[in-house]
């Protein structure tokens, strides 16, 4: 009880703020209205009736989808920075952990871009603003992992995560993917153990969410590594050592050769079983017929993962006095921005039949 009041002193205000933000997340009926829009101008009018308000009011016509996405992300970033500016330890650290995943994404984006000799400034613009750090632009210079680590990453909080992948010699697409997975695995494990130090309600909620995140990565890595050069031993090394599939599910996945084996490995967890219900059927019936069905199955899987993520994040709001709400809010808002972009894209390209394929939140 005492701890409860103490959290209230430190974080009660921010929790209130974030719950207020959360009630601004678009609802089913607002999505229904949005999907009826004929043009992006309608879309803007409709959004101005929500918490987004006049965020597009000063944009000159015609609107583009990327502007909408950019502005919506900017709102999230502003809110996040406000939270971060008002946070005290350990919430501050927690919020920082949230940004790490964006930093990883940015780093990978920059490395890949540099590898393919893209324009540096264009790359920098595409980086997620939550994951920007000071010395990030210098990443474009590095050509080897060693150099990358020595020149830039060593001073970022991500340095410990990269230590494990310094052995990778030259940068190519596969290696970058391996780096991403290794780093992300280290990040998830670190975040997981950090949440363990935060005491009961936070630990409970966050570890549930992170466990799912880890499982999702594990399954994705497995599915994506079929028919690639990635050896099974290497694959096993990329799996995070947390999550509900760990350890025996992970072991099975490490040996899996096709999607049916993946499904068998996931049988043990009842929630994951349903993910493969249709996907499994369609892929087994069309197994030898080519990669297209596999692709469809994978995208359907991805969709279900998103749905599950939204569900878990919504659950985080059911408990008070814990930090999970901050993480969940950011993730939900991110999903909302994805939804908005999807709907806007559908409107712009006049693909009305697919407009319903977003993932409703509330």
């Amino acid at each position: 009880m005492e701890a409860l009041f103490l959290t209230c002193i430190d974080n009660g205000f921010l929790e209130g703020i974030v719950r207020g933000y959360k009630s601004g997340i678009l609802t089913q009926s607002q999505y229904a209205n949005l999907t009826q829009c004929e043009t992006l101008e309608d879309f803007r009018t409709q959004l101005s009736a929500t918490d987004y308000g006049g965020f597009l009011a000063n944009e000159s016509l015609p609107l583009s989808t990327s502007t909408i996405q950019e502005k919506a992300t900017q709102i999230l970033v502003d809110q996040f920075n406000y939270l971060r500016g008002n946070a005290v330890e350990p919430l501050n650290k927690f919020l920082e952990y949230i940004t790490y995943s964006y930093m990883i994404d940015n780093i990978i984006l920059l490395i890949t871009g540099t590898l393919h000799e893209r324009d540096t400034h264009e790359l920098l613009e595409r980086c997620h603003p939550l994951g920007v750090f000071e010395s990030m632009p210098a990443l474009c210079v590095a050509t080897t992992v060693e150099e990358l680590y020595q020149s830039v990453l060593v001073e970022t909080p991500l340095a410990p995560y990269f230590r494990d992948c310094l052995s990778a010699n030259d940068l190519d697409d596969l290696n970058i993917e391996i780096i991403r997975s290794t780093v992300y695995k280290a990040y998830l494990e670190d975040f997981h153990s950090f949440c363990g130090t935060l005491g009961q309600p936070t630990q409970d909620v966050m570890q549930r969410t992170l466990a799912f995140e880890a499982d999702r990565r594990t399954i994705n890595i497995t599915v994506n590594s079929f028919n690639t050069e990635l050896s099974k031993e290497q694959r096993a090394k990329l799996f995070p050592t947390i999550g509900r599939l760990w350890p025996e599910g992970n072991n099975q996945l490490a040996k899996a050769d096709d999607i049916d084996q993946v499904r068998a490995a996931c049988e043990t967890v009842s929630e994951y079983r349903t993910f493969f219900n249709d996907a499994g059927v369609s892929s087994s019936s069309a197994h030898g017929n080519g990669g297209i069905d596999d692709l469809a199955a994978a995208s359907m899987l991805e969709d279900r993962f998103f749905r599950m993520e939204v569900f878990l994040n919504k659950q985080a709001f059911l408990q008070q006095f814990q930090y999970g709400v901050f993480f969940s809010y950011v993730k939900l808002k991110e999903q909302e921005i994805r939804n908005l972009t999807w709907i806007a894209e559908c409107i712009a390209q006049d693909a009305k039949d697919r407009i319903q394929d977003f993932i409703p939140i509330f």
């Binding site: 009826q36 409709q46 009736a49 000063n58 632009p137 210098a138 990443l139 474009c140 210079v141 020595q150």
Partner: protein
């Protein structure tokens, strides 16, 4: 009752009217009604999405126009030298009604877009030019600063060389070659020079240090003046850096890092002469560019000045047009008959005015089809509209912020005009302080016109809004100040005192005549002054409180009559009144009686009224003869207590009983309640809607679907009455005690002002030396500031707050029902001042 002349006692009588407006006059009609500001339109398409309504296209166009005006506004604001913007009232109005209205708006639209594109091109060229200028300035800085580096390096190299010469000459064979190489001034180091943002310098240096594995020779200096981005006005400060390195790979790496960190690199020659040439060239080009830039700036400014001349009119028109189309979207659009059907609440009194306005609109628009207005019968509750003027506005606002009174309910705002300043003044009583706030109020009232026009800011604006409240508070404070005989904690000796103090005695002797008005000045400075004023003010607070509550309770009666609830008079009003009077009314009588008795001549000592009230409850009927106030007290108190005791069950039971009997009667007569369950209600709702669809043309009220369901359940009545009874009975006690705040604040105020006097001016008012005069000056200044700051402002605000509470809680709880909704007419006037 109040149909002839607008009164504040009750809100205005309202009518629901239906308007049939032909499409071609719709715009002008709404414009006219907006100017009138007396009509509240109802939304007739609540289920329609905002972007599916009839006039969405127009609104979108207006939105774009308003975006353009905002753009101009932002541009004008950003301009460094102030661009004059002509205020709205000095501009020629742009006519947007009449047959040419559509054309005017079209023209405005094109004008706006023309100006926008002109301004954008100008901005763009200005920006590219200033970008070039910035680059050149940076280049100049780099050239200058690197020259310093090189000069330093030169002296160093020559030093090195000379020392090198001394020790190593014998060993060198190709001495001459070397000598030649050095004297040419090109030492073998290659370098990168450029500018970078100052905040990035440390990161830049760190990254480079790591990339070059510690082999870094970097120099950097600050550029003194900041660079200003013309489009955002943001300042950036930059540094010149120069990095010496050797080898192509390393140099390329440095360049890449520098570029990715947002630095600008300039090709600099190592040769001093070439550098000087480059500098000269850069300076020439910079000069040319600056002339061009200046001219562009002038052109841009001229354009902005032209925009500034009519910007306010455009904004006004755009705002009005937007409001008009938003209002038109509330109307029901009948496509077949080309008419718009509107429903609106209007004050019944103004119906003719509105008719006139409609006729005027028709004439303006130049068509012969007038809009048709007719009144509808409705069972819905109209909005509450109190017609206020500048004097009553503030007082009404005080009450409205507590709750909007129900339609045609007795309006407490009317009585607040006197009770509010009075209760305030009881707490604030001081002639001097009252005078200060009176002066402030009079000043604001005299400069009313000027101050209303300017923007007063949030705080001054608040005071200005309440200037008439302050005026009344000042007047009443002066009055109570005379009652307390208190002027900046000193007294006035207006009449002969009723007491004399013979031969330096501290004991006063009564002279036989009473001080005619207010407190006798002899009390001032007496040792028992505080005891006396405390007792006096405390009793006075109770008396005032009970009077105020009794009055508030009486305001129930006209409401009961108006809303045809006569039974409430004897189920609510009479028991409540009896309860209040038999306890606290009696207390007030006792206070007055005790005041009227000369206790020095009485055989018994004065009894404590508080104890009397307590024993009245604890030991009914028993009165200690030592503490008796008057003979027969025990009996009277028992009777009163009995009455109060009876009132509680009376209040509790009578109303539910009546409701139950009523219900019994209806069910007994064979009627059954309809639409009790949720489902039937929904079903009825939907049939209503379909019916309306059919009857639309017949002139029936269209949006009558959402009938107010007043299902008075018996259970609700019982619970409501229980709560009401408990609240009232407990409230009587706590509210009476609550009025003691009048005493507490008044006491605090008097004491505070006395302390302030004794801490600053006491004993200094008759200075003998220069030091004394200076002391008087300083202390007098302090005293005046603290008097205004603490005693008038802070104490005044606190007294205001408590007066507010006494009205909201103690007064309003006795009669006020609230639950109305305010009349919000379509009006251009309010909209204009809000954003301008």
């Amino acid at each position: 009752m109040s149909d002839d002349y607008p009164s504040l006692l009750r809100s205005e009588r309202m009518s629901l009217v239906q308007l049939f407006v032909p499409t071609e006059v719709a715009h002008d009609t709404v414009h006219e009604l907006g100017e009138l500001g007396d009509v509240q339109f109802k939304d007739l398409n609540p289920s329609v999405n905002p972007f599916q309504r009839s006039f969405v296209g127009e609104i979108r166009r207006i939105d774009d126009m308003s975006r353009r005006t905002r753009f101009f506004d932002a541009q004008i604001e950003k301009e460094k030298d102030v661009v004059p913007v002509r205020p709205l009232y000095e501009c020629a109005p742009l006519l947007t009604v009449g047959p040419r209205s559509a054309q005017t708006v079209d023209e405005l639209d094109t004008t706006l877009s023309q100006y926008e594109s002109k301004l954008t091109t100008l901005n763009e060229s200005y920006q590219t030019l200033s970008e070039r200028t910035r680059e050149l300035t940076e280049a100049r800085h780099v050239l200058r600063e690197t020259a310093v580096f090189f000069d330093k390096a030169h002296t160093q190299t020559s030093n090195i060389r000379s020392s090198f010469d001394d020790s190593a000459t014998p060993l060198l064979t190709s001495h001459d070659d070397r000598e030649g190489g050095y004297s040419a001034g090109s030492f073998d180091l290659e370098f990168v020079a450029g500018t970078i943002e100052r905040s990035r310098v440390p990161t830049f240096e760190r990254v480079l240090w790591r990339v070059l594995r510690g082999n870094l020779y970097m120099n950097h200096t600050d550029i003194a003046e900041p660079f200003i981005d013309p489009s955002t006005n943001a300042e950036t400060r930059k540094n010149v850096f120069i990095i010496f390195a050797h080898g192509d790979v390393v140099l390329a790496k440095i360049r890449k890092v520098a570029e990715s960190m947002g630095a600008t690199i300039f090709p600099i020659d190592a040769n001093a002469d070439k550098r000087a040439d480059a500098l000269r060239e850069v300076e020439n080009r910079l000069e040319d560019l600056q002339t061009v830039l200046y001219n562009t700036g002038i052109g841009r400014r001229a354009e902005l000045v032209k925009i500034g001349e009519s910007l306010r009119v455009w904004q006004d028109v755009v705002k009005k047009e937007k409001l008009i189309y938003e209002t038109l979207n509330l109307f029901n659009y009948d496509v077949r008959r080309k008419t718009l059907i509107a429903e609106a609440w209007v004050p019944t009194r103004d119906l003719t005015k509105i008719q006139l306005a409609l006729r005027h609109a028709t004439e303006e628009s130049g068509t012969s089809v007038p809009p048709i207005l007719h009144e509808l019968q409705t069972s819905k509750t109209p909005p509450t509209f109190h017609r206020t003027n500048k004097f009553t506005e503030g007082f009404q606002a005080i009450m409205d912020s507590y709750g909007i009174s129900a339609y045609q309910e007795i309006n407490p705002g009317l009585f607040a005009i006197t009770t509010f300043p009075f209760l305030f003044a009881v707490m604030f009583g001081d002639i001097g302080h009252g005078f200060i706030i009176l002066i402030a109020a009079v000043y604001m009232i005299l400069r009313e016109k000027a101050m209303a026009k300017q923007d007063n800011g949030e705080i001054i604006g608040q005071f200005f809004y309440g200037r008439y409240i302050i005026l009344m508070m000042g007047l009443f404070s002066i009055y109570t100040g005379f009652l307390y005989n208190d002027l900046f904690s000193k007294t006035l000796h207006l009449f002969h005192s009723g007491w004399t103090f013979p031969d330096n005695s501290t004991r006063g002797v009564y002279t036989g005549h009473t001080y005619p008005f207010g407190l006798d000045p002899a009390w001032h400075g007496a040792t028992n002054a505080l005891v006396f004023t405390n007792s006096y003010k405390m009793k006075m607070s109770i008396v005032l409180g009970v009077i105020h509550m009794t009055f508030a309770l009486c305001l129930q009666v006209p409401n009961h009559f108006r809303f045809k609830r006569k039974s409430d008079i004897y189920t609510n009003f009479i028991p409540q009144m009896l309860f209040l009077q038999s306890i606290f009314g009696y207390l007030v009588l006792c206070i007055l009686y005790k005041w009227s008795v000369d206790w020095t001549k009485s055989p018994v000592s004065p009894p404590s009224l508080l104890n009397m009230l307590i024993t009245m409850f604890l030991e009914p009927g028993k009165v200690d003869p030592e503490k008796q106030l008057y003979p027969g007290q025990g009996f009277v108190q028992t009777v009163l207590l009995g009455i109060a005791g009876v009132c509680v069950p009376w209040l509790l039971i009578s109303k539910p009983y009546l409701a139950w009997r009523e219900m019994h009667k209806t069910t007994g007569a064979g009627y059954v309640t309809l639409g009790n369950g949720e489902e039937t209600a929904i079903a009825r709702h939907s049939t209503d809607e379909t019916l309306e669809g059919e009857e639309e043309g017949n002139g029936r009220a269209i949006a009558e679907g959402d009938e107010e369901h007043e299902g008075h359940d018996f259970g609700d009545v019982v619970i409501h009455q229980i709560i009401h009874t408990i609240e009232f009975c407990l409230g009587c006690i706590s509210h009476t005690a609550s009025y003691l705040r009048l005493w507490a604040l008044s006491l605090a105020h008097a004491q505070l002002s006395e302390v302030l006097w004794s801490m600053t001016l006491d004993g200094r008012t008759d200075p003998k030396s220069i030091g004394g005069w200076i002391g008087l000056g300083i202390m007098g200044f302090m005293w005046l500031n603290l008097t205004i700051g603490i005693l008038c402002l802070m104490e005044g605000l606190s007294a205001f707050l408590h007066a507010l509470r006494l009205h909201w809680v103690e007064g309003n709880s006795k009669h006020f029902e609230g639950g109305g909704y305010p009349f919000a007419p379509l009006s251009f006037a309010g909209e204009g001042s809000k954003e301008a």
